[in-house]
């Protein structure tokens, strides 16, 4: 039989974990349980976005090929599909692991351990955000993807890119016109007004290399080059199987919208996670949580959030880059 004093002490200890109603549903503290339910709702928001991506992709005749869109790596002039984004995924996984360590040190009431591991987690988050900033900059500035225009697509038919001589030989007129102080060279069908949608260009990539004369099969990915001098999207002319001269069309707009919206929403979660991690790390360092004697529960709660951000990235990575 326990003594009366021991029972009383036990009850007081329990009281600290009880909600104001005197009970503790699911034996979890209020904050932790609500963090779980917040993450559940957030999971539905992300699921809604990702399902919308799937539905729109299924509804489109063509779709940009991920390993063609995401093949650039900072500091290296190479084209290696998926390498950079795999690195970003590793950064998030490692930051999740350091977060688990921070929570474990918190449960041992080790203030120094908590602060060090949280700092490592914050650095991981910042690295991830920097990578994302670089990826966005490349897409927007170098390649010209934005919310209303998507120059990445996939050929629906086979064909051969035409050179300037091919076009003039077929009754097209060469036009040289100044845009933003630089000369743009394009071809117009005789008698057709000089409107943006009537201009045919010779296929040239971002390195200035001409691809005229090259043949392609249906299903091959392509990028409509944006000229950085004239700010024009240079729709290349090609000859299809029927002998018609066709302009490479833009890809589905929805691709850019979904990419910026979903990775942006995830990036915003990472950003706010970094902010909260910083606040909680400073509070831990100041000894506030140590005084509460609850095993640094606040660190555990922000840990849940941080793992969730990693969890969402697992699916963003799957949907945008792998499939």
């Amino acid at each position: 039989m326990a003594s009366e004093a021991a029972v009383l002490e036990n009850r007081q200890e329990q009281d600290e974990h009880l909600w104001s109603g005197g009970k503790s549903p699911f034996k979890a503290s209020y904050g932790k349980l609500m963090m779980w339910y917040f993450l559940l709702t957030d999971a539905f928001t992300f699921a809604g976005f990702l399902i919308a991506y799937g539905a729109l992709r299924f509804s489109s005749v063509t779709w940009p090929v991920a390993d063609f869109v995401f093949e650039k790596v900072p500091f290296f002039d190479v084209e290696t599909p998926l390498v950079f984004v795999t690195f970003m995924t590793f950064v998030l996984i490692v930051s999740s692991v350091t977060m688990v360590r921070a929570v474990q040190e918190g449960q041992r009431e080790n203030r120094k351990g908590v602060v060090i591991w949280m700092l490592a987690t914050i650095l991981g988050g910042l690295t991830f955000l920097s990578c994302q900033a670089w990826e966005w900059t490349t897409l927007i500035k170098t390649e010209g993807v934005n919310l209303t225009t998507n120059p990445f697509s996939m050929h629906e038919e086979s064909g051969t890119y035409l050179s300037g001589e091919d076009l003039t030989g077929m009754g097209y007129t060469k036009v040289e016109k100044d845009f933003h102080g630089a000369t743009s060279t394009y071809f117009l069908r005789n008698g057709v007004a000089d409107m943006e949608e009537n201009r045919f260009f010779v296929k040239t990539d971002h390195h200035g290399i001409s691809h005229a004369g090259e043949s392609f099969e249906a299903g091959r990915p392509y990028l409509i080059t944006i000229s950085h001098d004239t700010h024009q999207y240079e729709h290349a002319a090609y000859k299809n199987g029927n002998g018609d001269v066709v302009r490479e069309p833009f890809g589905p707009k929805a691709f850019g919208d979904l990419f910026f919206f979903i990775t942006g929403f995830h990036g915003f979660h990472v950003f706010s996670g970094v902010c909260f991690l910083t606040i909680i790390m400073l509070n831990s360092a100041s000894g506030i949580y140590g005084a509460r004697k609850n095993g640094y529960e606040m660190v555990e709660k922000i840990g849940l959030y941080w793992h969730f951000v990693d969890l969402v990235w697992v699916f963003v990575f799957l949907v945008f880059y792998l499939l």
Binding site: L40, I51, F90, I93, S96, V97, Q104, Q107, L322
Partner: protein, 141 residues
């Protein structure tokens, strides 16, 4: 609170998690590159192989998600009620995925039809007479 494990075991779990998540990610990327014809020249997954590939990718990701939620977020060590109150609602997503993907492909298959109907011109009714049939048809297009 994590009283189920010694500190040493906890540290081991962390290392195990890093290995599992890292390993699966590398496998995923290698399979993806192979499936899209980047690794082995001439080999690309098409037709039924492509569906198997997509299902395998989804399975890998679900396993990663399971590991993160159950061990990094400790859901495995919470009481059963909490576990189910978080996991059960996500089952709704199964139907959402089926329904919306089905809707998306139905839309995709009717692209040409939709384009045609978008271009369709409806003549204004002759002056003085209200042609209700045309009005209603126009409304439903």
């Amino acid at each position: 609170m994590a009283a189920h494990m010694s500190y040493e075991d906890q540290k081991k779990l962390v290392l195990k998690g890093l290995k599992i998540l890292g390993f699966i990610t590398i496998i995923e990327v290698l399979v993806a590159l192979t499936a899209k014809g980047h690794l082995i020249p001439g080999l690309e997954f098409t037709g039924p192989m492509h569906y198997i590939y997509m299902l395998a990718m989804a399975a890998f990701s679900l396993y990663k998600a399971y590991f993160i939620v159950f061990f990094f977020m400790h859901l495995a060590h919470e009481v059963r009620g909490l576990r189910w109150s978080v996991l059960l609602p996500t089952m709704l997503l199964i139907w959402a995925i089926i329904a919306f993907f089905n809707e998306g492909s139905a839309w995709g298959q009717r692209r040409e039809q939709i384009r045609k109907m978008d271009r369709e011109q409806v003549k204004a009714p002759a002056s003085g007479s209200l042609d209700y049939d045309k009005e209603t048809t126009m409304f439903f297009i």
